[in-house]
Point group: D2
Chain length 311, copies 4
């Protein structure tokens, strides 16, 4: 399908289920997609940070996007991350994503290298000019160690370079500047502004965001769909209640002991443990070298599920 | 050849010459290798940060390492960077480097993901256990945003996981802790400690380092060979004079205007401009999306070469 | 007066007008207080970051708090920052603030020193136990380079150490965790949660915040009072419109050229320029070594005022 | 006495002994000064980071500098830190230090506020122009979160603003740039370049530094005096052996458990524990809110002393 213009609604970043020996578990992946579609989501984002894209080989990335696109069969738009260090390496991923049938690519600022706003702008311009698919910018400073400024995003939107923004920066003030700025400047084509937050979705939608890309949406897609609907209906009390329930559920991301594992291991391990406990995926393993959750930590995840009425 | 044990001397990180359309210029690469070998270096490090590894596609990486290994024909050890975000992706690069004939792989801590010392240790252990080649750790906090602690490096050395360390952290105190620590703990196999600094080589060698991996060594390999020799002979006055001359030459890395380009663009652009001005490579282009040096900035590089007696 | 429990509403951090030779301009300060009181604010926060507390000598700090407390004469609560590096120095400021008649003190985590969450907790416990006045925590990571975690804030609230939080972290997710957490744990006394944001006030109040401490409230106190009222009435559309007008006005903080001055100089310079243009204060000077706005930059501030209907 | 031009040699940052109730223990302070003078040091630096200046009230600061200046009676130069957030507050400390008889003041870049290089330059120019005493810049990025560039330091030296630099940045490359730069530019008056490192003193002196300001010099002043002498005599082998012994001793700074205290608490706690174990000071207490070393951690400090032949 072609990308809706603008893309709106709940677009979860799809976890990548792995087998115990860390191969992509395509059967579980298909079940997870069904779980999300059944939950009512509006699109899927594969090969994002929550998908453990940083840990997947190129072969595994192709397997993931191909499996998902074939399975959804055009029912929903599928966005795919082309996550790599610089322009040539990002462009190296685009053909496989295009051939697999993704509807858009999602691209971060350069990383590993010390970069500059002028180089970040050039990066997005080059990627967009050489890609057949629409390009969304992925603002992820915790991973790439630079922040996309509102000015830069709006300049690229005004020039038709970007089809949208997925903002995982946590900086709500700058996010709002993008939302206000796109009203003020003439944007040649629809430009989607999506928040990557799990816990301030009601606020982001109230400010004018088009949609949400919540990692926790893997665990409770129906919850985010209800939240989105309540916001669209302007029922802010109902939205707030649903959001607060999801905030409680989101507490699972701190299940892992920070003295022995990183924040990624804990959060991704919790999402996968929850999907395993809910019977969606066959194995909760995360990719290497992440540290797995202990039995006790997995029990904590279970308690969060139970408290949210999901187990 | 097999990796010398321990690896010592001057091991420059080899620039990757590009054509104007950003393809690897193998003819220039071969000339650059000859220039380095003629300068008397003790080994070559391809696919490091100075090689613009972050900008090279997998195909280009294979072309670089294959070209260099074939050309040196076993005269010198060739180390190759396997620079990627996490364990599976690093391991994805190792077979090509092994088949091309590299003598060791050089590996950073995970990046893009939020990591933890326990995961960094696990990463190196997994990479080493699944690689036929020796593994050197590459401490590069400016790129990967975590620092390898002396404790971690020494633990991995004591367990035979690592064959060495390339330290580009600029933290001389921690570097010295590694040097002192390896004397105190029984290391099962020779463990090379190399500094990535261009400007404190005399100090690093005086502290007991085995060798140096200077990006500026592309421009003036003979200078670093003389510096290394003076240090080995204990002629610290001569070493200091040579080092100070090289410090002046290193000033070229600030040729680029920081208000319009990043530090990588400026430094890598300066090294390539210098190699072009010296007639070693055919084209000074850096990879995209880096900003090129202006004509005036290139003249600044030329002045540094002239002042150092290299033009 | 005693601190309202909990403190709610609009509590602007009061700018400190200076004379051209950088003495506290008490006449202008009194006019500014009148301007704020006339705007309908619910309290005043003197000696915060927006007050240039970091630039005021102890004598000047005492002059500011004394002038303001005497002038408001108990009509409104007056909070006062006790901003210094560590426990003994913070405690060194408390007697003067107490004697001057402040109703509460506002305290950051230790800075300059490398600290630890256990030391931050100990800091607040010691300050609170040795102060006659209620203590609010001031979460200001951009200045002190550590973030108060929701867990830490809630622990200190539950133990009765803190009377409230002023959150200037910009991290809305963590802010919401505090708001949700204080419902879940039994807090012995009213605990005020205030946002320091200028641009997400509607969102913060919708999440359950008690009030707002906006630097821009110096320039347009009535705007924030209207915004607060609309939120309290649940009229989110009106709130959003007022907030968006204030977001436009807030654009003045980028008036200063970032290539020649810091962000503090630009923002504080813009607030003072606006107060000067509006006729509230006699001189727009900021404290040294801040760089003053140019004539042209001041004109930009004027345009923001005009666009917001304030000039 | 007037400041030697340039200041050279070993100038330890003097610890501030405290009583159990955290008052300055002047009797212990006098014994510590005697211990340092007996060790052969060339000057004293009071009210620096190692002196816990960030924790001392203004009254305590005056007591420290007065006690030390009176006790040394002009035998040695006494430098005093004027450590505070901005220009007016730094200038607020200078009269007390001047009246107490300090020979120079030591000043960092502004902190707490978001600053800019132009503001840092203005800060030093204003402080110097309004102080009767010579001003040394204190480069301490771990505390103030900005680095003094070599360009900035050399510009201020060339203009006669600064009498010297105490570099605690750990960035040896930039340090060398200052050392090389001061030879190239005409400096109107002697400009001292001192390293704050404990573990790369031989390297710094070999590069051309004038002296060293080692926190560990409180514990073993004679060791640093021997190290300095060996370097001045060009006996680099003897220097290296002494430096390596001191590196081992320096291991005491990691005695404190990082899971329960900050790096400052551990390092300052270790220095004071060592001075207490050696019988120099009456009580090892550090200022609040620092976490004290445990009995076991203090034993670790003792082992380091024993291993270095100091107990």
């Amino acid at each position: 399908m072609t990308l809706p213009t603008p893309l709106t609604g709940v677009v979860p970043p799809v976890c990548t289920p792995l087998t115990p020996d860390r191969e992509v578990d395509t059967a579980s992946l298909v079940r997870l997609v069904d779980h999300l579609v059944d939950g009512g989501v509006d699109g899927l984002f594969v090969l994002g940070s929550t998908s453990e894209v940083a840990y997947l080989t190129d072969r595994q990335r192709a397997l993931v996007v191909g499996t998902v696109v074939r399975h959804v069969g055009g029912q929903l738009p599928v966005l795919a991350g082309a996550i790599d260090m610089t322009t040539p390496r990002v462009l190296g991923h685009v053909p496989a994503l295009t051939e697999a049938g993704a509807d858009a690519v999602v691209v971060t600022a350069p990383f590993y290298t010390r970069t500059h706003p002028a180089e970040i702008a050039r990066h997005f311009r080059l990627v967009a000019s050489r890609s057949a698919l629409p390009v969304l910018a992925y603002d992820m400073p915790v991973s790439v160690h630079s922040k996309l400024s509102a000015e830069l995003v709006l300049e690229l939107a005004a020039d038709g370079v970007l089809a949208g923004l997925k903002d995982s920066s946590g900086a709500e003030g700058a996010f709002r500047s993008v939302l206000l700025g796109r009203r003020a400047v003439p944007v040649p084509a629809p430009f989607s502004v999506l928040t990557g937050s799990e816990v301030t979705v009601d606020a982001a939608l109230a400010m004018g965001a088009d949609g949400v890309v919540p990692g926790l949406g893997n665990v409770d897609p129906a919850g985010y769909v209800r939240l989105y609907a309540a916001c669209r209906e302007g029922d802010w009390e109902r939205a707030r209640a649903e959001q607060e329930r999801l905030c409680g559920l989101f507490g699972m991301v701190t299940a892992g002991d920070p003295s022995r594992m990183g924040g990624s291991s804990s959060a991704l391990g919790a999402f996968k443990a929850a999907l395993h406990l809910r019977g969606v995926i066959a194995c909760p393993a995360t990719a290497e070298p992440q540290i797995p959750l202990s039995t006790r930590e997995t029990e904590t995840v279970g308690k969060h599920l139970a408290a949210a009425g999901l187990l």
